[in-house]
């Protein structure tokens, strides 16, 4: 009996590794072929990398929301991507108002004021929505079997998306152009799009801020305690409900901020724009090891760079036409690979296989 079980296990492990190994081999062959063909110049690779860093910063900020909530409630807040969409979507109307009042005319001071107001407003909207979501949809289900909150979150995600579509229209809305963020800066002799610099710097500042918050403040420590063991934390005098609300608050605010950065980069909002970044950010959180703050940040940057580089680096060499079409597919292949080879993520405890 035991013998048979052992044989079965090894059979599945072997086939898993075989699938993983085959994919890895393809990746290596593709990379070597692309690099040896010399189709792209070094500056192009650099450009892609910096683009990836900016994208990665945004993923990292969203991923933190997933990781914080997962760490505490052990649930995937599927609607987090839509929280990310809601902030900048609502702030669009503020941006239009500023634009009508001629704030984006080229005066740097006025533009900065407008951007700060937009940022604060977006963070506020996302935060309020995240807290409402927790209060209405998740709190009553805290003791329910695990699939139930997940299904609720999926429902909430679709509800939010299509409520926004119904309320504010289905068309793509273009954010006004901000003149201080257009054009290039030359840093260390490299021409970098200004917006990318701003996004990367802002994302890193917020990530560091969050790290300090979680590690140093009393509330942050309470969050860690709750994620370790809710009941014991409650016995120690921590108000668990309050900590959970704060977790959603922090996650929502970061998502709102990430949303504004994303919108400044791509300059448009739609009701559906949170879906893909949300999934990617979740992938990033898993990459880094879900439940782990540093891991989420690293995972975000890694995924951003991978997504930016890999289509050209891997697929081009294999002679696949239009590799950018497979960008999203690559992100998910990466997710599956990580879960096969290192379910714990880059840094993190072994959760994927642990008793759910």
């Amino acid at each position: 009996m035991l013998q048979r079980l052992k044989r079965r296990l090894s059979w599945t492990t072997v086939s898993m590794w075989a699938i993983g190994g085959a994919i890895l081999l393809v990746v290596i062959v593709g990379t070597v072929l692309t690099l040896s063909s010399g189709k792209y110049k070094a500056s192009e690779w650099l450009d892609l990398t910096i683009n990836g860093l900016a994208l990665g910063g945004i993923y990292a900020l969203i991923a933190l929301g997933y990781t914080l909530v997962y760490g505490i409630l052990r649930m995937i807040n599927f609607a987090h991507g839509d929280i990310f969409m809601a902030g900048p979507f609502a702030a669009y109307f503020v941006a239009v108002a500023f634009d009508n009042a001629d704030y984006f005319g080229g005066d740097a001071m006025l533009e900065i004021v407008a951007l700060v107001v937009i940022m604060v407003f977006a963070m506020l909207v996302s935060t309020v929505l995240a807290i409402l979501l927790e209060r209405i949809a998740y709190r009553p289900l805290r003791r329910a079997p695990r699939l139930i909150p997940l299904i609720t979150a999926i429902g909430a995600s679709f509800f939010l998306e299509y409520a926004f579509r119904g309320l504010f229209g289905s068309g793509v809305k273009s954010y006004p152009e901000v003149s201080i963020l257009t054009g290039y800066w030359v840093i260390l002799g490299i021409r970098i799009l200004r917006i990318r610099v701003v996004v990367i710097v802002a994302a890193i500042l917020m990530l560091v801020g969050l790290y300090v918050f979680v590690q140093r403040t009393k509330v942050g420590k309470a969050m860690q305690a709750v994620s370790e063991d809710k009941d014991t934390a409650a016995l120690m005098g921590i108000d668990v409900d309050r900590i959970i609300v704060i977790t959603f608050l922090v996650g929502g605010a970061l998502a709102g901020a990430a949303g504004v950065l994303y919108v400044l980069m791509f300059r448009q909002v739609t009701f559906i724009m949170g879906f893909m970044p949300g999934l990617k950010a979740f992938t990033a959180a898993v990459l880094g090891g879900i439940g782990n703050v540093v891991g989420a940040a690293l995972g975000g940057f890694f995924l951003g760079i991978a997504e930016s580089l890999f289509p050209n680096l891997v697929l081009d060499g294999l002679g696949i036409p239009a590799p950018y079409q497979l960008r999203d597919a690559l992100a998910f292949v990466l997710l599956i690979l990580i879960l096969i080879f290192r379910p714990t993520g880059i840094v993190g405890e072994r959760l994927a296989v642990k008793k759910a």
Binding site: G166, F168, L326, A329, I336, P343, A352
Partner: protein
């Protein structure tokens, strides 16, 4: 200690605020205006107004029930009062919307806050008179609900049933048979007939049941057989007589029902949350398309529908295995996300230029031949109906038989506790793979029929939303229970198919339905007895 009963203002006001919020949301999201074109009683009542009325009725009902539950022997006047209050508050929100909208143009933000909407809300009577009428309607409807609920139970049921049937019949008439709702006379007739028959039934049901029980066993058995098998079979088999459009609606239901039965095995029986289920449907459809379409010139041969069908199912099953192996060790949420990723990968591959020479890329595959048996060609909605029907019957039969087999019991053990199941000697690897493979086979079958039905397939038919749709219907219907899945498919696929004007709001309603369902009735509309116990036990005791 006899405290004097007090009217519970607070809970009535709370419910009133909620009702107002919901009514406002329905207006601003555009549902009311979109559904206003469909008449329920022409000249009197439109679908949009019916929706608002239903909101009124619902919240007034909740308030009155709350008032009844709070204390015993509530004075009848209080019930009427709380109904009136809630009705008034609900419509006051709408009145406020009309007032504010008349003052500043809200359309810069809310695209649906249009004069047309205000016109509907004020019944075309202009702002002054219209608002008064609007508030009056709220108060009257609320009061009427309060009064109705203070009657005896059998009268309550008779009135609510009669009123509820009017819009249902009107919608069916206008949607399926291109009619225009029901006339005033018709509406009164429906109300009277249903109310009277409901009253008669509640008075005489015991006697009827006694009479049936008293029949000789042979007759009793044949009656039961007739009611349980022959009647439904006759209805289902003769459905295409109704015409092309109703058959088309049923084909959509059948397509999703077939997928629902498959996903029910994976999620409902084995408890593996698969969010990428559409992938198997896509693989079935694409296999059918590639093997049969003469467009696919890279293949040296082309098969007929029946020859390709087994291959379509085999390919789906194989992909079920391929997905199954890497996710064997994962549980719960991780499984959900990885399967979702799998679905996305398949769709991205289908749309990519890379595979375009083989599967058509974004142009899809066209010229897929229809199925045929001898002289009978399955080329109209009425005939394709039988293909889906056969598939669904087969899938339902297999599900029902497997459910209580050794494998089915292993799945359920797995669902309840993986570790215990393993300790009991259940082979996890085999059991899980079998679940994925069986589920994938049904989806592949559905996809293959779908491809032949449309004669062409495009990558955008295989969006993630299909997976969500299927998941939704099994959850709302009653996960793990086959009649539940059927009810879910009829409600969540058939209904939006009939109410075309709601197409845009389909996902909004799905989202709301999922959340409400999980909060209020996680076991679904027609739950499996065992699942219900499981859920309520766990909900009560915690985990």
């Amino acid at each position: 200690m006899n405290e004097r009963p007090r009217f519970d203002w607070l809970s009535a006001i709370k419910i009133g605020l909620l009702g107002g919020g919901v009514a406002l949301f329905l207006c601003l999201v555009g549902l009311i205006e979109a559904s206003d074109r469909r008449p329920i009683i022409p000249g009197v009542l439109s679908m949009g107004q019916t929706l608002l009325l239903l909101t009124l009725v619902l919240f007034a009902y909740l308030a009155v029930r709350q008032a009844k539950a709070n204390q015993e022997n509530v004075p009848r006047a209080w019930l009427v009062l709380s109904g009136t209050l809630v009705g008034l508050m609900t419509n006051a929100f709408l009145a406020a919307l009309v007032l504010i909208g008349g003052w500043i143009d809200l359309r810069a933000v809310f695209v649906n806050a249009s004069p047309a909407l205000y016109d509907i809300l004020t019944l075309g009577l202009g702002t002054g008179l219209g608002l008064i009428v609007l508030l009056l309607i709220g108060a009257v409807v609320g009061a009427a609900i309060g009064a109705t609920l203070s009657l005896a139970e059998s009268y309550q049921r008779a009135i609510l049933l009669g009123l509820g049937l009017i819009p249902i019949i009107a919608i069916l008439n206008s949607a399926l048979f291109a009619g225009r709702g029901v006339s005033i006379l018709g509406a009164i007739l429906i109300l009277l007939v249903t109310a009277v028959s409901s009253l008669l039934w509640s008075r005489y049901q015991d006697r009827v049941k006694e009479r049936i029980e008293a029949l000789p066993p042979r007759q009793h058995r044949s009656l039961a057989f007739g009611v349980r098998w022959i009647l439904p079979a006759a209805v289902v088999l003769s459905f295409p007589i109704l015409g092309a459009y109703p058959s088309e609606v049923m084909n959509e239901v059948g397509r999703f029902l077939l997928m629902g039965l498959g996903l029910n095995i994976v999620v409902g029986f084995a408890g593996l949350l698969d969010l990428g289920y559409v992938a198997f449907f896509a693989i079935g459809a694409y296999t059918m398309g590639v093997l049969t379409s003469p467009e696919m010139t890279w293949l040296p041969f082309h098969l007929t529908f029946w020859e390709a069908l087994p291959f379509a199912m085999i390919m789906s099953v194989l992909s079920g295995f391929i997905l199954g192996i890497p996710v064997l060790g994962m549980r719960g949420d991780y499984l959900a996300i990885v399967t979702l990723g799998f679905g996305e990968i398949i769709q991205r591959l289908a749309i990519s230029d890379w595979l375009k020479p083989y599967i058509g890329g974004s142009n899809g595959i066209t010229l897929i031949p229809k199925a045929a048996i001898g002289p009978i060609r399955f080329d109209s909605p009425q005939t394709i109906y039988y293909l889906f029907l056969a598939g669904c019957v087969l899938a339902a039969f297999i599900s029902q038989r497997v459910k209580f087999s050794r494998l089915g019991r292993a799945w359920m053990a797995l669902r309840e506790d993986e570790d215990v199941a393993e300790a009991m000697g259940i082979d996890l690897v085999r059991t899980k793979l079998m679940a994925f493979a069986t589920g994938a086979a049904f989806a592949g079958l559905s996809g293959a029929i779908f491809a032949s039905k449309l004669a062409s397939i495009y990558p955008h038919s295989f969006h993630l939303l299909i997976s969500i749709n299927v998941l939704c219907l099994i959850i709302v219907g009653g996960i793990g229970n086959i009649p539940g899945v059927i009810v879910g498919a009829l409600f969540l696929v058939g209904l939006p198919e009939i109410l075309r004007e709601f197409a845009e709001y389909r996902l909004l309603m799905y989202g709301a339905a999922l959340v409400m369902m999980m909060l209020l009735r996680p076991e679904g509309l027609l739950p499996e007895a065992r699942r219900r116990l499981e859920l309520h036990e766990e909900m009560g005791a915690g985990d």
